[in-house]
Amino acid sequence: MLAQAPGSAVLSIAPATKLTIQRGATADFAVKAELQPGFHVNSNMPGDDYLIPIRLTWNKDPLEAEQVTYPKPQMEKLSFSPNPISVYTGSFEIGTRFKAPANAMPGMAFMNGKLRYQACNNKECLPPRTVDVRVTLDIQ
């Protein structure tokens, strides 16, 4: 509903490195994010039903995302809330444990996901954004 001007994203995601995984095995991968100073995003459990949590989701194949692990949030007391809000600031990583099915096709492939977040500073909020995340896979 809300527009966001090109280049106005306050969260950047580091280019993904290649993930090598054996068929039938698991491997860990981290999405590395960095926020502009002064901004925060809500953690995956912001502690206020109205706030939009950060959420990393993955497609169903070629790998299975067994577990997504969010970093420990900071509890920040912000001027608009009587209680501290659970947020991320600066650089942080969201981990995923992938499992390759035993019958996965070996070779190069991609795993696609989406990171949804909503950023604010003390004075203003930017609209929620959903950005694509892609991992290059080497399935062996």
């Binding site: 527009a3 001007a5 608009f80 809330s81 203003e124």
Partner: protein, 192 residues
């Protein structure tokens, strides 16, 4: 002949009253950029147009339930609504929540918001420049002109209040000022 003289006298008197009223109320023609017109629904499904508020000073607040800083201003705006609504003032809160009324209604009840809340859409977002940040608050004068725009919590409560009072003093809601061309028509001799 006497009827004509009487008619001219009445016309001139009417014109004089209108001109005097206009001067007394510090009438002006807004040189501000017109606020884009919109048509949105409120919580009861009633269509609300900005034009419905012509003649009033309007505080138009774009907000969302997920916007923490918006929460700072909402109690201020509730106070302004209460204090100034009888002086030709209204607050319109346009929520930009994608989840619509299911998200907005509980929030409005919880905050006990006393002013009209509307559900925004892409069209109003585009019309008002994309609304890259919330809150975005506009003060609109009685003639529908944008007196000021405030992105984020950029102004304190008292500054907002001062700006509203200043706009309210510019013209009176009970005595809308006749445009100059209307006065000219009324004053034209032999127009009756």
């Amino acid at each position: 002949m006497s009827k004509t003289i009487l008619g001219v006298c009445v016309t001139l008197t009417l014109a004089g009253v209108l001109v005097w009223t206009g001067c007394a109320k510090k009438a002006r023609r807004s040189s501000a950029k017109p606020a884009p017109e919109f048509s949105l629904k409120d919580a009861s499904g009633q269509t609300v147009r900005l034009a419905d508020y012509r003649g009033k000073v309007v505080l138009l607040d774009f907000w969302a339930t997920w916007c923490g800083p918006c929460k700072i201003e909402i109690p201020w705006f509730m106070e302004f609504e209460k204090e100034f609504k009888d002086q030709g003032f209204a607050v319109l809160g346009v929520s930009m929540d994608e989840d619509g009324w299911s998200a907005i209604k509980p929030y409005v009840q919880n905050m006990k918001m006393n002013y009209r809340v509307l559900l925004g859409n892409d069209a109003i977002s585009t019309a008002y420049g994309g609304l890259d940040s919330l809150p975005t608050t506009l003060l609109i004068d009685r003639e529908g002109g944008i007196a000021s725009t405030h992105v984020g919590v950029s102004m304190g409560k008292e500054e907002f209040k001062d700006a509203i009072v200043k706009l309210l003093e510019t013209t009176s809601v009970s005595a809308p000022v006749a445009p100059r061309d209307t006065v000219a028509v009324l004053a034209r001799p032999g127009s009756r």
